[in-house]
């Protein structure tokens, strides 16, 4: 569990839906990353929320069977923290 991320999400969730809360929390902790959220329908990852970043390459991560996360500038997240971030988001989006 990434405790600072979890705390931030909980804080933002008091006044927001879960996706905007996760989005804001990630950007607070890792300034400079760009993130978009997608609902997974088979091969279709349908845009749900976040940034377009149309001119930047990105990496996609499957959070669970329903939700996907697409990150640009993901190198701003230290390698050892990335699994914890994904695990925390998985719990938040249960």
């Amino acid at each position: 569990m990434h405790q600072p991320l979890f705390k931030k999400v909980s804080l933002y969730q008091e006044h927001n839906e879960i996706l905007p809360a996760c989005h804001q929390a990630l950007q607070d902790i890792y300034p400079g990353i760009k993130v978009r959220w997608a609902r997974i329908y088979g091969r279709r990852w349908a845009f749900q929320y976040g940034d377009s970043f149309g001119d930047l390459p990105a990496v996609k991560y499957k959070i669970n069977e329903q939700m996907g996360l697409i990150i640009s500038n993901q190198e701003l997240i230290p390698d050892q923290e990335l699994p914890l971030v994904l695990d925390t988001l998985r719990k938040c989006l249960l």
Partner: protein
């Protein structure tokens, strides 16, 4: 299935509440009075006005109806030449020198409708009816994959035998079919209008774009040409894509069949359709616009005698006006058109073509043209390899990219990127990568000779050095045997 069962099914299809929710004060968005007024007011437009409108298009702003009407009414051939050039500039600006390529796959031609211009109409006894089994479909898909296709549009007649559950099963089968390195990565669907609940079933399977053409936006003409069947309901069809958007299928394709009614009216109809979708869905209009011309079909005399048939010169004009009116939307130029027409019209701003097409149900594996199983007769019978080679000679790189809808770049996200003119920054790298796959796995020696130059040319033209380096690395990995790499 008995006639009674078919009739009972037909009665259950249309959900009136899923039409009424979109009407405004009981009216649909095709305001015929507005169209007439716009076209009648903008007669003999000044050159300066037309050039101002072209500038607006070049800024990637969607035109208003009176502006589109002015373009349609232009009678000055010199200005038309400028419009063709502007169309090409817009395409270069938004999409670059790439042409997305797909294959149509006709899955079933059983139909309950009686469209007077269509070879598949219920009462056309000369059409041989066929619906693919899942096994037959698998063979059709294998045949297409072996030619190098990655994108399909699967086409279905409207019939209870090809209802949403059949469509879902066939989509699943298409996605599951693999041959060596090859597979279909995006399946778009052209089918009858459905309820939101049925569209949610297709959404969950991973449908690409859902395409429904209104055929004609003119109410009276629509009524005359669709005398019976579910398709007789103009409004059920008109709001098919609104329902798709509400179901979460956020890539939709509109179209009109040119030759049924006045071409200027239909262009205005397409524009009003775009405007209404954008208004209701947070700026998200159609992902693609199609503009097929009516073509001869078996035992269908209307196709040769309609008073509104569009000649080649007019066709080029209408495609250009659509390009200028909705500068950020994909435009599909199909193999209905003859090669010389396609080669000419594509330069006015088209973004997608089909190639190596065979529109007989079950005809790909047989490699035959079965006119008695076709909806109409194709004008362009070039193979995929030939079409790619010809495109390359014209300077276009063929793209099999399917990355957008697998990376969350759909709906609002895609439209935001396209409207800002940034979509090619990712799509061109993906075009290069998928084109490299094609050259390695499927291209003839002649096509390799004619088209390989595009890889280096387009790589060198990528504006971002970091992306250029990334693509170079990916090309090395593809040469080493990896596949399906994308940004």
């Amino acid at each position: 299935m008995s006639n009674q069962a078919v009739l009972e099914w037909m009665e259950r299809v249309v959900k009136p509440e899923q039409i009424e929710k979109y009407l405004e004060q009981g009216k649909d968005f095709v305001d015929e009075e507005l169209i007439r007024q716009s076209l009648n007011t903008a007669i003999n437009p000044e050159k300066s006005l037309l050039r101002d409108i072209m500038s607006k298009s070049l800024d990637l702003q969607r035109l208003d109806p009176d502006e589109t009407a002015a373009l349609l009414n232009c009678t000055d051939e010199e200005i038309w030449e400028e419009m063709y050039q502007t169309g090409y500039q817009i395409k270069e600006k938004v999409y670059g020198r790439r042409i997305v390529t797909f294959a149509p796959l006709y899955v079933s031609n059983h139909c309950v409708n009686s469209c007077v211009y269509c070879g598949f109409r219920k009462d056309n006894t000369e059409t041989m009816r066929k619906q693919l089994s899942l096994e037959e479909l698998g063979k059709e898909v294998e045949s297409l994959v072996q030619k190098g296709h990655k994108r399909l549009i699967m086409v279905y007649g409207e019939h209870p035998d090809s209802d949403v559950h059949y469509i879902a099963d066939t989509l699943t089968k298409a996605y599951q079919t693999k041959v060596g390195h090859g597979e279909i990565r995006r399946v778009n669907v052209n089918a009858a209008p459905m309820s939101i609940e049925d569209l949610e079933i297709l959404r969950d399977i991973g449908i690409g774009t859902f395409q429904v053409f209104q055929e004609t936006y003119h109410h009276d003409t629509y009524r005359r040409l669709h005398p019976r069947g579910i398709k007789a309901n103009y409004l059920w069809r008109l709001y098919a894509l609104h329902r798709a958007m509400d179901a979460g299928v956020d890539d939709v394709g509109i179209g009109a069949l040119f030759g049924l009614y006045d071409w200027k009216f239909e262009v205005m109809g397409l524009l009003l359709h775009t405007i209404d979708l954008e208004k209701r869905f947070n700026g998200v209009g159609p992902h693609t616009i199609s503009f097929p011309r009516i073509e001869p079909a078996l035992n269908t005399p209307f196709t040769r005698h309609s008073p509104y048939l569009v000649d080649d010169a007019t066709f080029k004009k209408l495609v250009t006006v659509i390009r200028l009116s909705v500068p950020y939307t994909g435009m599909i130029l199909t193999a209905r058109e003859r090669p010389e027409v396609r080669n000419e019209v594509i330069k006015t701003g088209c973004t997608q073509i089909d190639a190596g097409s065979n529109i007989g149900v079950g005809s790909y594996q047989e490699e035959t043209m079965n006119y008695d199983r076709q909806q109409f007769i194709l004008g362009d019978n070039r193979s995929l390899d030939e079409a790619i080679r010809d495109m390359a000679k014209m300077g276009f790189i063929t793209s099999f990219c399917t990355a957008d809808y697998r990376c969350g770049r759909t709906g609002e996200c895609f439209m935001g990127i396209a409207k800002s003119g940034k979509i090619h920054n990712l799509c061109m790298p993906n075009a290069i990568l998928t084109f490299k796959e094609y050259l390695l796995d499927y291209a003839s020696e002649a096509t390799k000779d004619a088209a390989s130059y595009l890889i280096n040319q387009e790589l060198a033209a990528l504006p971002n050095p970091a992306i250029q380096d990334k693509v170079k690395g990916m090309l090395v990995r593809i040469e080493a045997g990896e596949r399906d790499l994308f940004l």
